[in-house]
Assembly symmetry: C2
Amino acid sequence: MSNKLFIYNSLTRKKEEFQPLNPPFVGIYVCGPTVYSNPHLGHARANIVFDILFRYLKQLDYRVRYVRNITDVGHLENEETGEGEDKIAKKARQEQLEPMEVVQKYMNTFHKNMLQLNTLEPDIEPRASGHIIEQQEMVKVLLDKGYAYEVNGSVYFDMEKYNREHKYGILSGRVLEELKTNARTLEGQDEKRNSFDFALWKKASPEHIMQWPSPWSDGFPGWHLECSVMSMKYLGDPFDIHGGGMDLQFPHHECEIAQSTAATGRQPVKYWMHNNMITINGQKMARSLNNFITLDELFSGEHKVLEQAYSPMAIRFFILQAHYRSTLDFSNEALYAAQKGLERLMKAVETLAVLQISDSSTVSVSELKDKCYRAMNDDLNTPILISHLFDGVKMINSVNDGKEKIQANDLDDLKNLYNLFVYDVLGLKEVKADEKDDELTGKVIETLLSIRHEAKHNKDWKTADRIRDELGALGIVIKDTKDGASWEKS
Amino acid sequence: MSNKLFIYNSLTRKKEEFQPLNPPFVGIYVCGPTVYSNPHLGHARANIVFDILFRYLKQLDYRVRYVRNITDVGHLENEETGEGEDKIAKKARQEQLEPMEVVQKYMNTFHKNMLQLNTLEPDIEPRASGHIIEQQEMVKVLLDKGYAYEVNGSVYFDMEKYNREHKYGILSGRVLEELKTNARTLEGQDEKRNSFDFALWKKASPEHIMQWPSPWSDGFPGWHLECSVMSMKYLGDPFDIHGGGMDLQFPHHECEIAQSTAATGRQPVKYWMHNNMITINGQKMARSLNNFITLDELFSGEHKVLEQAYSPMAIRFFILQAHYRSTLDFSNEALYAAQKGLERLMKAVETLAVLQISDSSTVSVSELKDKCYRAMNDDLNTPILISHLFDGVKMINSVNDGKEKIQANDLDDLKNLYNLFVYDVLGLKEVKADEKDDELTGKVIETLLSIRHEAKHNKDWKTADRIRDELGALGIVIKDTKDGASWEKS
């Protein structure tokens, strides 16, 4: 498992060696947000997890096309039954806006937050409302092949026929018969042949603002359809990796598989990957459960459960300290610990830049490098990678303290290793917003320290103490050592 | 003209009082970029000009819906004849990317640059490729009404019929007969009834990647169609203001007027507004003329004609120092002057924050305020507004020097005035990226200055000079005055 990438395939329920369909090209499709509210910590996790996949595959020299959609129509309130009001239309009614104003507002916030978290932009970010024709074309194919039926201007997917021929539920393990038993009777379901059939096209009621003409009715596409259509359009059929949150396995991803398989006769995706949930007090963090903390609240600290503000990089580090397939419980303690851990890691990276070289090494950089790759190759195990990087922090500090030695080419390797894994793979960055200003502050402080050094030399203790005290009042602590004074922000 | 907003209507060729169709609501549609290359100074101007309109209308308490489109399909190389390769498809071929990857890449850069220039995000940013059905619906209407005809799967607008009934060219003053004489014969034109007819729907050649099914052919919409369709969809018919660059008057806006008027029987827009061009050596700056400087080049200084880098705010200020209907010639001298002017204005705003109050005023704030509004009400005359703000700078400095006096409520008014016009209306902001760090730098420098003050007091000239010299080396100039020392970045 050492030098080959293995990822856990939700479809086969095991770790498999990653072998793209058409190397060196890799296609990734990830389910993006439904843009009717501000992104919360759960959105951060899904997007950071697949950002790591995207970054690591690029590091491995694959030519990756990363597609992440924006759902701006068709996502109804009750996801399991596919009934209720469109989430965006409802928000538009509440905020007295045109639906596309709601979409624009929350899409902008999503983009802003994702940039703050330093996730790379996807190569294509298609919108559901921008692919109505393509979705109608797929409905036509499914009707032609007998996997769909029209009732009163709406078109539904025929689950029993599909299940007979292809077996429904291969991803989530759900069995169709159980769904039948569990299904409740809800408005609009009476026109379906079976309660578990889902809508491909819904006739719009007159008050429904978002609707388009179609051969069946003025209406809108079913939620599941967009991802089948847009992944196929931009990545082909089949494609390599489909990602998303574990909560999307059923019904969303099952329905995607059913639609695409019915339309093309083959499985649409080689590897399915799912990230686990953020929990809070043991419960999934979700908008529908009303227990979420938005990213803007986390960054500003303005939420009743937050003890302080957390930087986007602290949030990112917090998320990466758990493996993506484990649940991750929110707590102030865990976030604070992540923040401190990140600071320690970044301080070591700074130390690394000024390490002294020796004629020989007493440390093994190649071993560390090998461990880092092995962690990532084992289903993107970022917490293990981070623990190896912290072993490296000890190494760096030991060399800095003179307890260990490192020779020039090993030091180069070590710098490259940290650049690669800290910045390129984990996507961390300096918390400082403006390095130039920080640099100037540093230089001015150095000037003060050298004035103080001279004052001490001249036994002008009053001036020396005054400089120490005034810097202390500004939150800058001076540490005197035998080699002179250094400083840090307290 | 003082307390009512007048804007120049390109349609009537005169300044008119602005009276929205459905107050307090105002709808604005502005032609956005075709996203196949990096935005240049010309894009900055168009977007800043209409950002000012958007900001000022909001200040006047209108409820504004601002729609700016993204052209991601259908914009062909030869704009006058509507022939040639699709600009995005061509770039995709050159860069070996999927067309939507090209779109995403340059759309992201556009958004980044517009945020750097501090333009407000539009309320809705519709994409042409996201409104194919809506465009097809308008083609159907135009066919039904006899204003369009189909040939070999393409649909063209019948200019002669339109001209007979509505007169073509009311915006640009072009006369149809002249267009006929000037038209050259180009590929594909033979199927048109007249060379000046333009495409509403084009049948795609097999190698054309971007195409959609339609009643006429697998093809793509004509460039002009999207703006008629999307403005009507999101702003209604008619709507208040349509903006764009002067180079879009003909043929783009004329064709929009023709399509919409033919479809609905009435003029689509009450006020047409056009910004003038950026010139360089007297020639319009344009991608097609290959004499452009991109915004990223301006911000980094990396272009052969640039003597230095210019901050986004310096660029913004440079653009606002000209009236939007005048041409604006690029030069390093003008940009440098804008940068210095902006610094002077911003320094005065800082001074304003620390002005001392008196029992009475010798300055008239209400008169200044009145002048500022009058400038904006006169067709958004930002250069006049800026000159009034500089008169205010003199006022601020005179009060600061003790030559004039200001009482408390006048000072409040003056602060509000500068907040309103500098930040909210002109959309300027501090150049400093991280004010906190800057603040810390300032405090550390103050500490050094007080150490120096004491050294001078103790006749320790060596230390005093050393502090001055070391700060000088960091680009910080100390100025000694009778009240002590102050500093500024050189």
